[in-house]
Symmetry: C2
Subunit: 150 residues, 2 copies
């Protein structure tokens, strides 16, 4: 597949962004399809993973970790609470979220297949290349230029 989408005055920065964005879109589309087996979206699955990691966390923390707005998290969480995957308990003005038994079981079922899924998707790269890719992306993220937030 020859790709020549960027025009003449191309610089490496733009090209880097172009390929990050392209890879993301292609992978996201497939990944969504993959998760449909369990009627989950990538965001919903990410919620499960994040909560398990922390054991228990506030909605605000989750929003920050996932780079989503608090409003978005509220909606997402309510849906998943209705489906019985997570539970909430208020403490002070904060609502803490944790996985229910059902949520834990779901995650346990999906996790091994997900590991397998991604190792297939990235099989074009050797382990060493994957390591290099990760390192480079990490470096991009670390070098964030100072900007106003909120």
């Amino acid at each position: 597949m020859k790709i020549r989408t960027m025009g003449s005055a191309t610089n490496k920065g733009i090209l880097s962004w172009f390929y990050i964005s392209r890879t993301y879109h292609i992978q996201l589309k497939r990944y969504s399809q993959f998760l449909k087996t369990w009627s989950l979206t990538p965001s919903q699955y990410e919620v499960l993973v994040n909560i398990r990691e922390s054991g228990r966390m506030s909605q605000k923390e989750l929003a920050e970790k996932m780079f989503l707005t608090k409003g978005n998290i509220t909606q997402l969480i309510i849906k998943m609470e209705n489906e019985g995957y997570i539970s909430r308990e208020q403490e002070w003005k904060t609502k803490y979220i944790r996985l229910t038994e059902k949520g834990n079981q779901l995650l346990d079922r999906i996790r091994p297949e997900q590991v397998n899924y991604f190792s297939q998707q990235f099989q074009g790269l050797t382990k060493k290349e994957q390591k290099r890719l990760i390192k480079l992306l990490k470096k991009v993220n670390e070098t964030q230029i100072n900007q106003d937030n909120e």
Copy 2:
């Protein structure tokens, strides 16, 4: 899908995806902010770039190139036509799009600043590292596993 019990945490694949996704989200947020100066979204800007490259293209071609649905393109295009950036002419059952003078001028104004913007965003990587990153991502995209589409 073949299910192969994985040994320990051979989840470099997942980690690769995690960092691609994370980098994408962080950058997208900033980039959207950047493009607000001209009241454009990343998709709208991408439309301008793609049309200029081809000179003239059908909506279907554009949809495929941008990994969006035809429906989405229709909506996007109508908005940009109303704002005077692009024009359409029907020929047979196909509608061909091209940039108007106004669209060309807008692109000319934004382009140099965009080049500058991204070279700043990726300044954490040397030219050589950026080249390597691009090469790795290209490789990921090229090694797409065959899957059903539509």
